[in-house]
């Protein structure tokens, strides 16, 4: 047994096989300088690729049916193509390493197919790339990222949002990352999925790869590789206790969130994709307080269309029915980058072109999103809020565009409803200007993670700054009080949608400040309702 620690980001116990996720960066093999040797390497790799594809084909045929399996078959056929093989041989003869010859020749053919005036053939360029990439990966000693059957604990150096989005979320028992912080995206995802997870764990990826069973204790922050019987028994007991605690909270399901003195709170869920709306309902959320819309833009290589966005928002609106749903418009930039938008690399992305700033400078990106939101508004109870507002004019400009979009849609005969427009308060400037902004906004929702980062000038992605990232800092508490006061004076509601929303130490305080909505990871709603209902505030 081997054991160590990490920073726990969600309580609970997970026990199961470990899967190590590695980024696909590795050293390129250089050519041996002998074309014969390189050609032999390529031939051997092609044989391995053939075996892999044929195993994949059989599996796909059984699990997905003949039609889907045919996609694999096409790649098997391409692997035999004489033009491709001739191209590779010529590149190798010309001095290229086997891996680069395989990849580059594939790319040449892919481009030819991509340029054809035929949609079906255009799509085949992806098959060619996939096929040549497979040979390349084999030659680079990378077997690809293989997921086992069933559930597993995912171990990684760190996980980017675009990486986590491609994972089968229902099969992940826990995340264990060597980097990250309690407000990084892996941590947020762990809380959405209600799975015990550790960040900043002192775990070796090599050892994790070799262990049979990995256990994570999200209460203490400990991890255990191949735990002995005694440890395993203790962990299993804890797991059972945690399940019992959750069951005890069930008595709060379906109840209103009202304090003993009669103050009514709205407890909402933070969600990242349309599918999460189901989880929000299952967790008894009274609405969605924050829908992080950027996840519809990640993990792909082109902008989502207005129709795609509309379908996603409509699904959430319909799922939640009469319960309110607050969609935060695109917050790309900073730690969430997408290459296809063609944004510049920035020295200081947290202070860069992100959030509403991108939207106001790129109407080609912002307008389809707003149109989609207004079109979906007819199907439920939608509100919209803008991230990274620092000035009143930004809010006014965004509101103007909303009004234009709505009247356009009306003119096109597309039904819309009134969509309340709010501000996600996360810059110190917005907090200081809360009184002014309250005149223009229908509500405030405080993003405590970024507000903490910007107020304290502490990078929340930097693991070394953990002790300086103090969400209870008096400066922050003063701003929070000021925001709620400004909202109350203007007669609009104010809520909290950052990680602090679910912090049991803050619940009563928020109520006292005048906040009437708290939005959090779905799994935290019942326990927060218990605190609200037991509160004298």
């Amino acid at each position: 047994m081997k054991t160590g620690f990490g920073l726990p980001v969600f309580p609970g116990v997970a026990i199961g096989p470990a899967v190590v996720y590695r980024k696909t960066e590795r050293a390129l093999p250089v050519s041996s300088g002998d074309p014969k040797v390189e050609q032999a390497k390529f031939d051997a790799a092609r044989e391995t690729a053939r075996e892999q594809l044929s195993a994949l084909y059989e599996k796909a045929k059984v699990e997905l049916g003949e039609e889907k399996a045919a996609i694999v078959e096409v790649q098997m056929l391409m692997l035999e193509d004489l033009d491709y093989l001739d191209g590779v041989a010529a590149a190798i003869e010309g001095g290229a390493a086997a891996a680069m010859a395989a990849l580059d020749t594939g790319e040449e053919f892919a481009q030819v197919f991509a340029a054809m005036d035929d949609e079906y053939m255009n799509a085949r360029s992806a098959d060619i790339r996939d096929m040549s990439r497979r040979i390349y990966d084999i030659l680079c000693g990378n077997a690809g990222f293989q997921l086992p059957e069933g559930s597993f604990l995912l171990v990684a150096e760190d996980l980017a949002p675009s990486e986590t989005i491609q994972l089968p979320r229902d099969r992940i028992l826990a995340f264990v990352t060597r980097q990250g912080s309690s407000s990084s995206h892996t941590a947020i995802l762990a809380r959405t999925l209600n799975i015990p997870s550790l960040v900043q764990a002192n775990i070796s990826l090599e050892e994790a790869e070799d262990c049979e069973i990995l256990a994570v204790d999200g209460f203490t922050g400990s991890w255990y590789m191949d735990p002995d019987q005694e440890t395993l028994a203790v962990l299993k007991e804890k797991q059972a206790e945690a399940a019992a605690d959750r069951a005890a909270l069930e008595s709060y399901r379906g109840r209103e969130s009202v304090t003993k003195s009669g103050k009514k709170l709205l407890l909402c869920a933070n969600i990242g994709c349309p599918e999460d709306a189901e989880a929000a309902l299952a967790a008894d959320a009274e609405g969605v307080g924050l829908m992080r819309s950027e996840f519809l833009y990640l993990g792909r290589d082109n902008l989502p269309t207005e129709d795609e966005l509309f379908e996603a928002y409509k699904k959430v609106a319909e799922t939640m029915g009469s319960r309110p749903v607050v969609i935060r418009t695109l917050d790309i930039g900073a730690d969430k980058q997408v290459s296809y938008m063609g944004l510049d690399q920035e020295e200081n992305p947290a202070l860069g072109l992100r959030g509403l700033r991108i939207c106001l400078t790129r109407e080609d990106i912002f307008r389809p999103q707003l149109r989609a939101i207004y079109r979906a508004s007819a199907y439920g109870n939608l509100s919209v809020m803008f991230p990274m507002v620092a000035s009143v004019w930004e809010l006014k400009a965004a509101k103007d565009l909303c009004a234009r979009v709505r009247s356009e849609l009306e003119a096109e005969g597309i039904p819309t409803r009134e969509v309340p427009i709010g501000v996600m308060v996360e810059t110190p400037a917005a907090a200081v200007l809360a009184r002014e902004l309250a005149k223009e906004a229908a509500f405030f929702s405080v993003g405590t993670n970024d507000l903490t980062q910007y107020t304290l000038a502490v990078d929340r992605q930097n693991a070394k700054l953990g002790q300086f990232y103090d969400p209870y800092h008096p400066a922050l508490l003063a701003l929070l009080a000021q925001i709620a006061q400004a909202a109350n004076e203007a007669g609009i509601w104010a809520g909290i949608c950052g990680e602090l929303g679910a912090d049991p130490k803050m619940t009563e305080r928020f109520i006292a400040m005048g906040y009437t909505e708290l939005s959090m990871a779905p799994g935290r709603i019942l326990e927060t309702r218990k605190i609200v209902c037991e509160s004298e505030a």
């Binding site: 096409v74 056929l77 035999e80 193509d81 004489l82 030819v112 197919f113 085949r124 060619i128």
Partner: protein
């Protein structure tokens, strides 16, 4: 040399699957098999070349077979195309 014509009946045209099957079938012959479509000309032993013809339903293909086993090959390829494309 043998030559015959075939009009594509498959609604998807010469897509990857029949093209691949054709390549496999043709590989066993010693003869050279060339397919000419209105969009170009391709060696039937080369998959990507065949696909690049982007031959559609209703297009007429001219197939020429030349080599020691051309009689057998032409007959079998004609039957294959009738059944699969």
């Amino acid at each position: 040399m043998k030559e015959f014509k075939h009009v594509i009946a498959d609604p998807m045209g010469m897509h990857a699957r029949p093209a691949g099957m054709l390549v496999k079938a043709v590989a066993s012959y010693a003869s050279t098999v060339t397919i000419t479509a209105p969009t170009g000309k391709a060696d039937a032993k080369r998959l990507m070349a065949l696909m690049r013809l982007a031959a559609k339903q209703g297009m007429e293909l001219t197939v020429t077979v030349e080599g020691p086993d051309e009689d057998k090959a032409a007959a079998e390829i004609q039957a294959f195309l009738a059944a699969n494309l």
